[in-house]
Symmetry: C2
Subunit: 331 residues, 2 copies
């Protein structure tokens, strides 16, 4: 058996865990050092110096066939998306990205060029946002590619601490960054996580609650409201609708607003802040350009509602994405 494997290796590429690790180590070696990372890739665990820091941890799993279609998007974009989603969570906490730990299950037949492209995506996205890859795990996949990223962010004891979902009060303004809906047409692979915006909103503006829009505005707004114990009144006319949502609406007959409310994978920030501070957003030209005020927090018992242009209100239901595990009865 061993001999035949050795023989076949001459004709076909055999790609091992340690070959992959060598690719990783070569990249780690040319990545600039990040403060506080004492031991990175190469031991049983990484060692971090967290003195005087508040540490934030998030994790996200990406699967071929569920979150991306690898055959269409390629390995680099899959890697960028996997890391980008954790960066979006760190952005929503309003803290600095620090280091990432990446577990990868590679299917049989993965070529060295695929692995290089995957690492291009992972390391490129990390570098773009000041994050270092400090460890991980590699194995053979049972089926398709799996990438799981655990990411740490940090806030100086002197800076404002992490922003939670739970800090909104009735009367606070509700805002979003960017334009929403239709991410499935491409943006879900090419979004830029709002890391610098999240930091600015926390440090300079001061926001009361924040969440990133991964499962659709309607769903993530409900999460923020539930965590904060508030209701919300969203003005339909103020919801920023993306070009992609407008095109999709023309094709599928669903409204563009519906796409913006329910589509998911926007990776924009939804946040709240005292109304008087919302007016101050205009002082920062970049934020002013990017941020839309879409509504106001209300007392919890008023629920989460959507206000039409004529002022009539209807309940805004959470219709965004939710994973289902059980038998779906063919539905």
């Amino acid at each position: 058996l061993l001999r035949s494997a050795a023989f076949c290796t001459l004709r076909r590429v055999t790609f091992t865990e340690s070959a992959f690790l060598k690719l990783v180590q070569a990249r780690v070696a040319r990545t600039p050092a990040v403060s506080g990372v004492r031991v990175g890739v190469g031991d049983d665990a990484a060692v971090l110096d967290a003195e005087g820091q508040r540490v934030v941890v998030t994790t996200d799993m990406l699967l071929d066939g569920v979150d991306v279609r690898l055959a269409e998007c390629g390995h680099e974009r899959a890697g960028r998306k996997a890391l980008g989603r954790c960066l979006s969570d760190i952005a929503a906490m309003g803290v600095e990205p620090w280091c990432a730990f990446v577990s990868v299950a590679l299917p049989g037949g993965t070529r060295p060029a695929d692995a290089e492209a995957l690492l291009d995506g992972l390391f490129g996205m990390a570098r773009d946002h000041g994050c270092t890859i400090a460890g991980g795990d590699t194995k053979r996949a049972a089926a398709g590619l799996v990438i799981d990223v655990a990411m740490l962010g940090r806030a100086d004891a002197s800076a404002r601490g992490p922003v939670l979902r739970s800090g909104a009060s009735a009367g606070d303004a509700i805002c979003v960054t960017g334009r929403l809906g239709g991410a499935a047409a491409g943006r879900h692979l090419d979004f830029v996580p709002r890391v610098s915006e999240g930091l600015r909103l926390n440090r300079r503006v001061g926001v009361s609650a924040m969440i990133d829009l991964s499962d659709g505005l309607s769903t993530d707004l409900h999460r923020l409201c539930e965590a904060s114990g508030v209701g919300a009144a969203i003005e339909a006319a103020r919801v920023p609708i993306s070009e992609a949502a407008l095109s999709l609406a023309k094709q599928d007959g669903r409204g563009a607003l519906e796409h913006a409310l329910d589509d998911g994978e926007d990776y924009e920030l939804l946040f709240t802040l005292p109304a008087e501070r919302a007016e101050g957003l205009g002082a920062d030209p970049e934020l002013a350009r990017l941020v839309s005020r879409i509504g106001t927090c209300t007392p919890r018992e008023q629920g989460v509602v959507l206000l039409a242009a004529d002022g009539t209100a209807r309940p805004l239901e959470a219709r965004g994405f939710e994973h289902r595990f059980g038998a779906r009865g063919g539905a």
Copy 2:
């Protein structure tokens, strides 16, 4: 479509991400609080207070069909193994487990009872070792179950810091805990990570390098030696051989020693320490019972060798487990 789904739900169980999250939250609610975890499950990220701490991070991915056969071992043991492997890494750093972040991809057809069993395994193993589950991610699997665990450990600034693989010197004694080999027969699912032993070895005894045995003694010893820049002479007669390795050897004609050297998944600790301190191990009755001295570190140029009873040496090759991703030519 929506109606037919609702209809079928009456007849068949539909199990959603939020149903799974509710199961998780119920368990989190009855888990004792762990110091330093300010925000756990439920926000975009967890928030940890790491003032004055050295933080250690490790990550490990478990796949059905690769690391376990779920149909045979069941969900609870899969959960225990996933968390246990990270605990074994934390043990090898000689620090205290702190908190874990668990990403789970559940295949379609997962029943609520399966999810409960999985959580029994994850939360049970965490609790057994003073670790809390502080976050995670859940989704539908494209194929089989995937569990990825990221785990943080911590060392007080006042305590000895984490033990690396790289601290061994020529002349140091080489020791292992437990008995090796044959883990595939069952122990790979039921091992107890050496968390308390790792802590005692670091704090009370003082070891120079440590690694956990996941890929086989021969492979992991090479890793330790390479990181430390030393060679090693292992005395074959001193390698502790498990009952399982002895039984396997009778069945498959491979030597029991070979099983102990190469099988992998022992999740025991391999460590080095100055020779005079190795003699002091006898003072701790529990460690004395558990630990075997199997050899001595040598200068790097002497390589890694196995000494037979008559004193003849042969190179000890790394023959443990390695994942292969490429085409294997049918081998």
